[in-house]
């Protein structure tokens, strides 16, 4: 699976960073960085939670 972030929608609320810090990082410049674009299958539930809890619905999973 592949993490896709729509950076036009992302407002760096950073909730994804709290749920999956190994995949997402909002740095001091206030921008979101995807640390791991193709996480392993065991990270799926965290990734799905990040998708659901993103207030901007900016994250999606591509299979």
């Amino acid at each position: 699976m592949r993490v896709v972030v729509d950076f036009d929608l992302c407002e760096s609320n950073a909730i994804c960073m709290q749920i999956a810090p190994d995949i997402f990082e909002v740095r001091d410049d206030d921008f979101l960085y995807v640390l791991e674009e193709t996480p392993s299958e065991d990270r799926r539930s965290s990734l799905e939670e990040s998708v659901q809890r993103c207030p901007k619905q900016a994250i999606s999973i591509e299979e």
């Binding site: 407002e11 760096s12 950073a14 909730i15 909002v26 809890r53 619905q57």
Partner: protein, 401 residues
């Protein structure tokens, strides 16, 4: 074994609950009742970038039609539950009785109205998509003067949107500074400052006597006799949970549907979102939240709780989190602060337009506030979840560059 679960309320909590029922393997019938005719939509943009006309309607959708079909959800829009009997496990929907095996109550809250103002044209509250569209249209046609009653989050966001559209904005607030009951006086003053800097005429410590105007609104009269002229009034004085339909249900209703620590209101009945008041074991009291993130999480949790029972489920005890966008500031709060808390700015300063501050009490870290500081808010939120002390929080702060 349950064969049918009904969800009353087709907004964020209800939709997320339905999705969770399916992802947890529930194969029975799922029915969602929504009192509005509109397909389920997201609310935060209604006071922000949908209100200013930037965001198209399609982007508000909470669930696609394909997904509704795929998950085999029966979505009944324009359908209002009018009664519930917990003994016989029956709902009354527009006079017709219908039984269920499991029920999720997610009827949300509605905007509190100012008395005697609903007959006057040009006075609005903001909760629904239609409310937002009415205000958006009024912003386009209004001569100039927008008066906002209440400097809560909705009021402050509407003020910000209206100022961005170059309208003249006055906010009327009863407290001495905006939002001080949620964020404390110091932070309230900081928020007050940037509204004033952005041209909002912020009048605090004033009370509204009445809205004036025979047919069309003309102004807002204050109790001290001052008349504030208005072409458009937006009232943002809080929300009331939608529980009237449950009055004779047998459930306990006290500013929300009262639930135990696992969101259970009665056997086979759970509640989630703005309407739910539940016992939060972390805070040792029952609370009710009106946050977007809680609607998502509690919707999911309540669906799991209904399916799996209490023994398999730890209590629902999240550290609450919300955000508000006002002008170029993103305000975020995680945790619950109270007026007795100590507040300390730990990174940067309010003068710089971005900073992080923490709230503490009795040696514990209670909450974190960030203005344009999302990274730190999440870092401190993790500390709150771990039960960190005030000292540990300060030590962590000193390590931030």
């Amino acid at each position: 074994m349950r064969s049918s679960i009904t969800i009353v309320g087709a907004s964020l909590s209800g939709i997320r609950a339905a999705e969770t029922l399916r992802s947890e393997g529930f194969k029975g019938r799922i029915k969602i009742l929504g009192d509005e005719e509109r397909t389920p939509y997201d609310r935060p943009p209604l006071s922000k970038n949908f209100l200013d006309g930037e965001m198209p309607f399609e982007r508000l959708s909470l669930i696609s039609e394909e997904k509704i079909l795929e998950l085999e959800i029966e979505l009944e829009l324009g359908s209002k539950a009018t009664n519930l009997d917990i003994e016989s496990q029956t709902l009354e929907i527009e006079g017709v009785k219908e039984s269920f095996d499991g029920l999720i109550i997610a009827t949300g809250a509605r905007a509190r109205q100012l008395p005697n103002s609903d007959e006057i044209q040009g006075v609005h509250t903001l909760r629904s998509l239609d409310d937002s569209m009415r205000i958006r249209d009024a912003f386009k046609s209004v001569k100039s003067k927008v008066v906002i009653v209440g400097a809560g989050f909705i009021g402050c966001e509407v003020a910000s949107t209206a100022r961005n559209l170059e309208l003249e904005v006055t906010i009327l607030e009863t407290q001495q500074v905006p939002l001080c009951h949620v964020l404390g006086e110091e932070v309230g003053s900081i928020i007050s400052d940037f509204h004033i800097t952005n041209g909002v005429d912020l009048k605090c410590g004033v009370e509204v006597q009445e809205i004036q105007g025979d047919d069309q609104v003309e102004g807002v009269l204050l109790t001290d006799g001052t008349l504030i002229e208005a072409d458009l009034v937006v009232v943002g004085i809080g929300a009331v949970p939608n529980t009237e339909w449950l009055e004779s249900s047998g459930l306990t209703i006290e500013d929300g549907v009262c639930c135990d620590e696992t969101c259970l209101a009665a056997p086979n009945i759970v509640a989630a979102g703005d309407v739910a008041r539940w016992y939060h074991i972390g805070y040792g009291k029952s609370i009710r939240l009106e946050h977007w993130d809680n609607a998502v999480e509690q919707g999911k949790y309540s669906a799991q709780r209904l399916l799996h029972g209490k023994t398999n489920h730890p209590p629902y005890a999240p550290v609450p989190w919300f955000w508000s966008d006002q002008f170029d500031r993103k305000i975020q709060l995680a945790g619950i602060s109270s007026p007795e808390d100590e507040f300390e700015v730990v990174v940067d300063s309010p003068q710089e337009g971005r900073f992080t501050g923490i709230y503490g009490n009795e040696g514990k870290l209670r909450a974190v506030l960030g203005i344009n500081r999302p990274r730190h808010v999440m870092q401190f939120k993790s500390l709150i979840e771990k039960g960190s002390s005030w000292k540990e929080a300060l030590e962590f702060a000193s390590g931030i560059e």
